[in-house]
């Protein structure tokens, strides 16, 4: 009987709808200069000329060399390489979120 109730418990657990988490897509990288920075929003002008708007959050790792930096340390005009993931915001709009930012030395 314990086995049966165990199996039932497992199946119930499998059947409960999991929390819906946005699936993050591929990892991307952009290299260029900081066009603008405004709180959580960062604009990067890539070396190819294209400008991307990227979200910076508290999980974003920001480095200058091996030294950890804050988002307030990012200054317009400086060289930057951003590693980011693409996902959808709550409204369904595509959004780039930085996972790692490397700033010029």
């Amino acid at each position: 009987m314990k086995l049966i109730s165990g199996v039932l418990f497992l199946v119930l657990a499998l059947s409960i709808a999991p929390g819906v988490l946005a699936h993050e897509g591929h990892v991307h990288r952009v290299m260029g200069t900081v066009a603008a920075v405004n709180g959580e929003r960062l604009q990067v002008k890539a070396t190819t000329g294209q400008t991307s708007e990227i979200v910076v959050n508290d999980k974003t790792k920001i480095l200058r060399g091996t030294t950890t930096q804050k988002s307030s340390d990012i200054k317009p005009g400086e060289r930057i390489v951003v590693t980011m993931t693409e996902s959808k915001d709550p409204a369904g709009k595509a959004q780039l979120t930085a996972t790692e930012i490397r700033l010029g030395k």
Binding site: I4, V20, L21, H23, S52, T67, G104
Partner: protein, 211 residues
């Protein structure tokens, strides 16, 4: 007596039917997709089952490799080469592979992993975990076992990992020639060099994970 037996049989059949309906409903709703993370209840049950499945003798086995800076460093090098592609160098599981697995690669800095015994960690590394992305790394040799016990030391070190150690690990991660070229290009660019024509374009894929 016969009546009781019939009642038990009917009860069992009803239970099997209910189970079949629930399994069917689950697959109808979600199919075999790995997109959504497992729910809390499923995670609790799966971890409990994993714990039960590890033999007591294995669970209680002490780490035969003495803890030392060398053991942690060798574990770190091994982890960067073999494990970080899914688990990330910092053990967060925040990689392209780890985020897409069902179940997700765990954040090994958290109590759910750190509270496992050395023996449990070693058993999982050696034997893998069925129906997850965790492969069995035990090759049966003493050399493999020693490497895996060193990994256990390194997993214990993960919550204290320093940014400098993560940078060292990045140099040890397996990379394709293209990724190595991109990393070199990035380093040169950040130091003031001019970008070459081979510079990574915006949104170009990279397979490196966080940390």
């Amino acid at each position: 007596m016969l009546r009781t037996a019939v009642r038990v049989l009917v009860g069992l059949l009803a239970l099997v039917g209910a189970v079949a309906v629930l399994v069917g409903a689950s697959f109808a709703a979600r199919g075999i997709s790995a997109k959504n993370a497992p729910g809390r209840a499923e995670t609790v049950v799966a971890r409990r089952l994993r714990s039960i499945a590890i033999p007591r003798a294995a669970r209680d086995e002490p780490n035969p490799v003495p803890a030392s800076a060398d053991a942690i460093r060798e574990g770190m090098e091994h982890f960067a080469d073999h494990c970080a592609v899914c688990h990330a160098n910092d053990g967060s599981g925040d990689t392209e592979m780890g985020r897409g697995m069902y179940p997700r690669a765990p954040d090994m800095r958290q109590p759910a992993t750190q509270n496992l015994t050395d023996g449990q960690l070693f058993y999982i590394i050696e034997n893998g975990v069925r129906l997850t992305g965790m492969p069995a790394w035990g090759g049966g040799s003493e050399h493999d076992a020693t490497d895996n016990w060193r990994l256990v030391h390194f997993i214990r070190h993960l919550p204290k990992l320093t940014p400098a150690e993560i940078e060292t690990m990045k140099t040890l991660n397996p990379k394709s020639p293209e990724e190595s070229q991109q990393d070199e290009e990035m380093r040169r660019f950040l130091e003031g060099g001019e970008p070459s024509k081979a510079a990574p374009a915006p949104h170009q894929h990279s397979h490196g994970g966080k940390g």
